[in-house]
């Protein structure tokens, strides 16, 4: 047995708790705040807001803010469940096209079966959840990482979206379902506009908020939330203490699928037709929003609020550049810079949190 480093000579052993006071000094409220995963994104969001408030004249108008919130909400509805999945240690590259798949299934089922649009909406929910289950089961039953498995799903769905749409409707987009029974009520749920104090707000903003509230509740206050952190933080340890790892992961993929369903229905009912090639590339936007929001790419750490704020940064930047009448090419640059900053901050947080005395 080798001796340890020399003990701090006169002080009592660290396990007696006799000098708890001395140790308490180490943790200031500021450090505690710094430990929050969403802190970086909130600071970033304030900075972006101030920036565009100064440089884009119309940015502070109520109608502009409503536009920003709408853009943010369509990303946020997906970024929140994608963030939960990332906290659980996995990716879903099929999330972007899954939104389109969900819209296509709903539209085509309603059109071909000439049924009530709500039937299509229901069938779409089942199909989309089944895709989520497929991702989750494939991941937990086989060896490859989720990156590869969902890349496979991504490619298959991309092909299916285009192929089946062409096969069934003869073109790359679906036929309109606007004259069908149930369309107005479904539109009210998924794509209506609410007027508050003379300003129009899209209903997706409410969906977005609901996703954040429910996801935060699950993450911070339920057993499942504990399991999500655990399977992402250390899957083996989680399994060893009896956490149902596979079920948790399948559930997370179903959460992403549910988000894709809501987004897909929004897509369908705001335009009443769907372009079958849409959605490709959005999966990365969701992941970026989650990372900016403080999710660790390696899992085990992050927050739903952070992901929502990440989506807000996205919305503000993309619309802010338009309001400032700049070349939209700058958007990508801003995003890249933001992503790098967020990643550096996260790396620092992780080092702090994992450091062993």
């Amino acid at each position: 047995m080798t001796a340890t480093a020399p003990a701090p000579t006169p002080s009592p052993s660290p396990d007696t708790g006799a000098h708890a006071d001395e140790r308490l000094l180490k943790r200031s409220p500021l450090r505690k705040l710094l430990g929050r995963p969403e802190l970086g994104s909130i600071v970033g969001a304030v900075a972006v807001f101030v920036f565009f408030a100064i440089f884009a004249d119309s940015f502070l108008k109520a109608s502009s803010l409503s536009t920003v919130l709408y853009a943010s909400s369509t990303i946020g509805i997906m970024a929140v469940p994608v963030a939960l999945l990332m906290i659980g240690g996995e990716f879903d590259l099929s999330a972007g096209v899954m939104v389109t798949t969900s819209a296509l299934v709903s539209s085509m089922f309603s059109f071909q079966m000439t049924a009530n649009t709500w039937v299509g909406v229901g069938v779409s929910l089942l199909v989309t959840l089944a895709i989520g289950v497929f991702n989750g089961v494939m991941l937990t039953r086989t060896d490859p990482p989720s990156f590869i498995i969902t890349l496979g799903t991504f490619l298959m769905l991309t092909g299916l979206n285009l192929g089946l749409t062409k096969l069934i409707s003869g073109t790359v987009s679906t036929k309109t379902i606007a004259d069908m029974e149930g369309f107005p009520s479904a539109k009210a749920v998924f794509a209506s506009t609410l007027t508050v104090g003379g300003v129009d707000f899209k209903i997706t903003i409410l969906w977005w908020l609901a996703f954040v509230v429910i996801a935060t509740w699950i993450l911070l206050r339920t057993r499942v939330g504990n399991w999500i952190f655990a399977v992402g933080g250390d899957e083996k340890a989680a399994r060893a203490v009896g956490v149902p790892v596979d079920k948790t992961k399948i559930g997370l993929y179903m959460g992403v699928a549910f988000g894709a369903w809501v987004s897909g229905q929004h897509l369908l009912f705001s335009f009443d037709t769907v372009q079958s090639g849409e959605g490709v590339g959005n999966e990365l936007i969701y992941i970026i929003a989650a990372v900016i929001g403080g999710c660790l790419i390696t899992g085990g750490y992050g927050s739903a609020v952070g992901a929502a704020v990440g989506a807000l940064i996205f919305g503000m930047t993309s619309k802010g550049i338009v309001f400032a009448e700049w070349n939209p090419d700058w958007f990508k640059f801003f995003l890249g810079a933001m992503l790098l900053l967020a990643t550096l901050l996260n790396a620092w947080v992780r080092k702090r949190a994992e450091a062993t005395k």
């Binding site: 047995m1 001796a3 340890t4 480093a5 003990a7 052993s13 660290p14 396990d15 007696t16 708790g17 708890a20 140790r23 308490l24 180490k26 943790r27 509740w217 206050r221 339920t222 057993r223 939330g225 504990n226 399991w227 952190f229 655990a230 933080g233 250390d234 083996k236 340890a237 989680a238 399994r239 060893a240 203490v241 009896g242 956490v243 660790l296 085990g300 750490y301 992780r350 949190a353 994992e354 450091a355 062993t356 005395k357």
Partner: protein, 303 residues
């Protein structure tokens, strides 16, 4: 060899866990063969052996991570083969692993209750009882003598010894009957090892049966009631506390004769040393039993 069976306890009470010439193969690798172990309530059974001797494999069978390939495994007299760690937990066997005891980034209180979180409320409002969890974690750790400054800190920021103690406290709290510890003191300094051993003893006094895996005969002898020595997957010795001295345990752990041989060779370094010329019983401290043991060891070593 001093067999446990000699000090027979049959009929007195059944062992909490009993392995009888258990074997485990990983493909064509023989990780364990013919290993027996008994764990009784209020006793500590130590498993000693070198790196790769099969210690972790042995406890993975008890913990439900692997199924054994041969021999019998009884829990409270009933023959079993565990299919998952959850099943082992449900049957009262809690394991603290060498490397995967906890999730480093999660707060201490979340780790403490991980997998067995208490809830309150019903339906969609069913939630973890966070207040209770925080309070209990703090109280249980305090009971073990760890005064945490903050149960919200990530468990990865605790020292290795503190982390082991949290894992032990967790097992005790959840009413484990058998506590399995894989090298809890391996990465710890002298002081921290002492702290952990104190909790191991506390768990024993609370009536648990403990399996303690270790490299270190001194640690084992401080607290152990039974000792099983593993060597390259086979059992090279099984003793009760009154059947063996610390010196003998250390000798057997360190390789007994082989170490003596090595010492003598090193002492005679200037002379042209050659293998095989080292005389038997060079130190003459052991009795006949030990001699016999040594010879067996030498045969083993020759393989």
């Amino acid at each position: 060899m001093t067999q446990t069976a000699e000090r027979t306890e049959a009929g007195e009470r059944t062992a909490l866990v009993e392995l009888d010439s258990v074997s485990k193969y990983y493909g064509n690798i023989r990780a364990l063969e013919g290993v027996s172990l008994e764990v009784h309530a209020g006793e500590i059974s130590c498993v000693l052996g070198d790196n790769g001797a099969g210690k972790s494999t042995l406890i993975k069978i008890i913990a439900g991570l692997h199924r054994h390939d041969g021999g019998t495994f009884r829990i409270e007299g009933e023959e079993t083969s565990l299919s998952s760690p959850r099943e082992a937990l449900d049957r009262g066997i809690a394991t603290v692993y060498q490397d995967l005891a906890v999730v480093p980034l999660m707060p201490v209180w979340r780790n403490f209750f991980l997998g067995s979180e208490p809830t309150k409320g019903t339906g969609p409002f069913k939630r973890m009882d966070v207040e209770f969890m925080r309070r209990t974690t703090r109280a249980e750790l305090l009971r073990m003598g760890i005064d945490l400054r903050d149960v919200d800190q990530p468990i990865g920021t605790l020292s290795g010894g503190e982390r082991q103690c949290v894992a032990i406290a967790r097992a005790v709290y959840f009413g484990a009957k058998v506590l399995v510890l894989d090298e809890p003191t391996a990465a710890l300094g002298v002081k921290q090892s002492g702290v952990v051993l104190k909790y191991v003893a506390a768990a024993r006094d609370a009536g648990l049966g403990v399996v303690l895996i270790t490299h270190n005969p001194h640690h084992a002898y401080l607290v152990g009631d039974r000792f099983v020595l593993l060597k390259r997957g086979t059992m090279s010795g099984s003793h009760t506390r009154d059947g063996i001295t610390l010196d003998e345990l250390t000798r057997q752990m360190a390789g007994g004769n082989e170490l003596d041989d090595l010492r003598h060779e090193l002492e005679r370094a200037p002379a042209p040393a050659h293998l095989g010329a080292v005389a038997d019983g060079a130190d003459g401290t052991g009795g006949t039993g030990e001699k016999q043991e040594k010879q067996e060891k030498q045969k083993d070593g020759g393989r």
